[in-house]
Symmetry: C2
Subunit: 214 residues, 2 copies
């Protein structure tokens, strides 16, 4: 983050809880991320070009290259920007916390910008290893963040030691992604809750314990 920024204009100060340092730098970032989404939706990932993104954002292409270095890096930053924060308290059961994770997938699916981003990436990942890597990295990062729910449950003894947190999160979100990005069926809060309940049940039964190969 560039620390040589002029002081923030008080008029443009973001709401508490969403503060981000930087004024012009933050505005440049926002403009570039918005331009990237527009470029991706219009041309697809394979044909997206950083010089056109820079032109859409009204900044120099060199600024974009210096800050992000590659389209994949912008795409990952965009995904972080579109994500939602969720609370997964240790005082909640695993099923409650997995329900929060599953409902967050639905919330993101209802955000047109996030849905557009993910659709473009799923579509592109089939043909582009770089797109696959960017998408895979974003989703792995999100599993890292939500894994805390599983680690809490292991510590509390609600699920067996050795339970693989990523596998529990995958089981929770997979039926939702199947509907959203493969079969194209609608997803409802009931689907989210059912997926969370099934994943929690399987985790309690020890099905997601990672064992060394025999």
């Amino acid at each position: 983050m560039d620390r040589t920024e002029p002081p923030e204009d008080p008029q443009s100060t973001p709401a508490p809880g969403s503060v981000r340092p930087g004024g012009r730098t933050a505005r440049t970032r926002a403009a570039v991320l918005e331009a990237t989404l527009a470029e991706l939706v219009e041309t697809g990932y394979a044909d997206a070009r950083i010089d056109r993104i820079a032109a859409r954002a009204g900044v120099a292409a060199t600024t974009v290259y210096r800050r992000w270095g590659s389209l994949e890096n912008i795409v990952v930053d965009l995904a972080d920007d579109l994500a939602v924060s969720i609370e997964l308290p240790d005082s909640h059961t695993l099923e409650d916390n997995l329900r929060t994770v599953a409902r967050a997938v639905l919330t993101l699916n209802e955000d047109p910008a996030h849905r557009a981003w993910l659709q473009v990436m799923v579509s592109a990942a089939v043909r582009s290893p770089k797109a696959r890597e960017a998408l895979s990295s974003v989703l792995a990062h999100r599993r890292d963040l939500t894994s805390v729910a599983v680690r809490h449950a292991v510590t509390r003894g609600e699920v067996p030691p050795g339970t693989d947190p990523h596998e529990v999160i995958r089981a929770t979100v997979a039926p939702l992604y199947l509907r959203m990005y493969v079969t194209g069926e609608p997803v409802t809060p009931a689907d989210a809750d059912r997926a969370a309940a099934a994943a929690a049940l399987a985790a309690r039964a020890g099905l997601f314990v990672t064992r060394p190969p025999e």
Copy 2:
């Protein structure tokens, strides 16, 4: 199926168990399906054209239009052609049969032709409602066929009455599709078996019973 065909050439008789009536008609179908896959892989679904498919197959475009009527119909027929037959005996437990279903998803993923077909369709479905409909229809048909495993289990009392067979199948295959088509992670037989075990456990616990909204 055209029944005015000349008798089959014994040299080209397929192996027992894979017999399909028709000689020239069957060869035309095989050539068109093969040409469709090549066209889809090369140009994507959005740009695939029936006249080019006909030219690749060495048949008249009118023949293709008369027999299939639309690209979507050819794509659905291609998927049926690439599918594998599986046995889901009533004498097996639900978990055993779901493991067979999950392993079949892996088998299809190892077939380059089927993998190419499904990748093209997942990629196209994001932008094309017709592609989405064709893909959705193929997968719903496969769930219909594999639902017998769940219906057996309901009749035997292994899972509660009112268990939704499609939901059980979705839960079984979803973690595999997530890896194959969203995160791009490898899928292993252990992943298939774990998904089958988790879905069977949730089904036995009554999590897939469809209740009227309260």
